[in-house]
């Protein structure tokens, strides 16, 4: 058994070392920087430890940056607004995605394959370019405004960019496939006989949907909702390209703090708080996926 387990460790140890070094340890570095103060050095933050050989002899970290996040409404509003936008955006994805998943699950085999392909195709193309394509639709001289004014429906261009509507459109065009796939998986497994039985027993189509189809697809709804919600909270590209100053989102705030203000300690504390916000939905997603695979 000794030789056998040695061979096993040859498989296990390299990935553990890689992920430990490039995924786990970085969070401790972020934590450490979030407790430090900004400085006019390179890198632009103070060290929170004084080293004596290999041992830290004193610790000067404090929670000043976290207190600053609480005291400045910019950060509080960014967090709350990100959660709100992600919650509503995921719900919009659910409303748009459910009929698609339903139609795919009910289509016959050949058509089903084509319809699924049409959902997966945008997912493989760059999300940056899909968000960019929306600028061409929504900008003051974009497709929608120029078409409407060509028909004489409007005189002055509609304000479509830099609105909440633009942000929600961005979330839909970026994450809709992530909503549809788990919904489809749940609806495909659904036993058609149950739906038939309900209607044979006199249930209206709407009642059948509310009382049979919807409850039986709840696992897909939860998985799809979380798969859209989690990345939406930290989204940067969508608010940067489609939003304006009123569409505060925490991913963009962190970016500005880091690249424009060059305040690395505050950016690090923003990141730590964002993680704290997302831990619960992440654990929840893990559990639904485990339940789904079991």
């Amino acid at each position: 058994m000794g030789f056998q387990s040695l061979k096993r460790y040859l498989v296990i140890i390299p990935p553990i070392l890689w992920l430990g070094l490039f995924f786990l340890i970085p969070f401790f570095v972020v934590l450490q920087v979030s407790l430090s103060d900004p400085a006019l050095t390179r890198p632009p933050f103070t060290s929170i430890f004084t080293w004596e050989g290999w041992w830290p002899s004193s610790f000067t970290g404090d929670l000043e940056n976290y207190e600053f996040l609480l005291s400045d409404s910019l950060y509080v509003n960014s967090y709350l607004n990100s959660l709100k936008i992600a919650a509503i955006g995921s719900f919009v994805c659910l409303l748009i995605g459910y009929p698609i998943a339903y139609v795919i699950a009910r289509a016959d085999a050949n058509l089903r394959n084509t319809l699924l392909l049409l959902v997966i195709l945008p997912f493989w193309t760059s999300s940056l370019l899909r968000v960019y394509a929306l600028i061409g639709m929504y900008s003051p001289n974009g497709f929608i405004n120029s078409t409407l004014s060509w028909f004489g429906i409007i005189d002055t261009p509609l304000q479509l960019m830099q609105t909440d509507f633009a942000i929600y459109s961005g979330i839909v065009i970026t994450y809709l496939p992530l909503m549809i796939l788990p919904l489809y998986a749940a609806l495909e497994k659904l036993d058609g006989d149950l739906v038939e039985a309900a209607s044979d027993l006199g249930a209206t189509p709407l009642a059948t949907f509310w009382r049979v189809t919807l409850p039986l697809s709840i696992s897909g709804i939860v998985a799809g909702y979380l798969l859209v919600f989690i990345p939406s909270v930290g989204e940067f590209v969508i608010p940067a390209l489609l939003g304006g100053p009123d569409q505060l989102m925490i991913g963009k705030t962190l970016w500005t703090e880091f690249f424009n203000n060059r305040d690395w300690p505050v950016a690090s504390s923003v990141a730590m708080v964002m993680l704290a916000f997302l831990v619960i939905p992440m654990m929840f997603l893990r559990n639904t996926q485990r339940a789904g695979s079991a």
Binding site: V11, F22, F23, P26, P122, T125, Y132, A133, S169, P205
Partner: protein
């Protein structure tokens, strides 16, 4: 609801329209001869010609291709090891840790991943002098890290569908472990590894946020250059570039789907 309720069909069609209309408009305008994006001045392919003259975009595309290739390749090696260990080794010290570290990069916000890796690279450079500055290497490391997480999920899924008794039979017949892996397991999970490579390459080729944190001067990837240009608005050159990328991806996905279908049908024929 009935099998094909018209309202449901309409709503599904609406959803597809939302996904596709912006991309189709962008493709059409990439053939517009006017520099003004609003004015249609007739069909032209001149923006495609100008694209090839744009050294900055061509260089960035080349960097992105290199980063995508290497990060996806490292990703499938480590990702396959992780997926295999999680699916086939019953219990080992660190299994929970490996499982957690292998799934978390998938759901981590990109700004957090990017920031944390940059801070790590800077700390490492101060401590041991490596990596010296940021560039191709640091982007590849960053992308390989999330690539192996995606590959591990795909490979693990494929392995749990695949009957372990075939590997056990080979073992009982006297085959030894590396041989069993390369002769039986690897061919079975090959489609998953290829799919994982393509997924990792695509995600790397698409990534703006993480690359922005860990890239250095002279190592701007294609999304970084695209982003700096589109911040100022729509340009016909980027429309043309986007059209090329969309066309390549569409051909690739449709071809892969067609091959998979053909394979499936052939297997059905064999089973008859």
């Amino acid at each position: 609801m009935g099998k094909r309720h018209p309202l449901v069909l309409f709503m599904a069609g609406f959803g597809y329209a939302i996904l596709y209309i912006p991309i189709l408009i962008m493709i059409i305008y990439s053939f517009n001869s006017s520099k003004l994006v609003t004015v249609w001045a007739g069909w032209s392919t001149k923006w495609y010609g100008e694209l090839l003259q744009n050294g900055q975009l061509v260089d960035a595309a080349w960097i992105s291709l290199k980063v995508g290739f290497w990060s996806a390749t490292i990703g499938i090696i480590f990702g396959t090891m992780i997926g295999y260990a999680l699916a086939r080794f019953r219990r080992f010290r660190g299994k929970l840790l490996l499982n957690g570290m292998a799934t978390a990069p998938i759901v981590m916000p990109e700004v957090v991943t990017g920031l944390s890796l940059l801070l790590l690279f800077i700390s490492l450079e101060n401590l041991i002098g490596w990596p010296a500055g940021r560039g191709l290497t640091t982007i590849i490391i960053a992308h390989a890290t999330f690539a192996m997480a995606f590959v591990a999920v795909v490979v693990q899924g494929r392995l749990s569908d695949f009957d372990v008794s075939i590997e056990e039979a080979a073992h009982d017949l006297g085959a030894r472990q590396p041989y069993i892996f390369f002769a039986i397991t690897l061919p079975v999970i090959m489609p998953a590894i290829i799919a994982g490579w393509l997924l990792a390459f695509t995600l790397s080729f698409d990534d703006l946020v993480i690359a922005s944190f860990v890239s250095g001067p002279g190592s701007s990837t294609l999304p970084i250059v695209i982003f700096s240009k589109v911040r100022l608005g729509v340009t016909p050159e980027i429309n043309a570039l986007a059209t090329i990328i969309v066309a390549v991806v569409a051909i690739g996905v449709i071809a892969a789907n067609w091959l998979a279908l053909k394979n499936e049908n052939a297997q059905k024929q064999n089973n008859k």
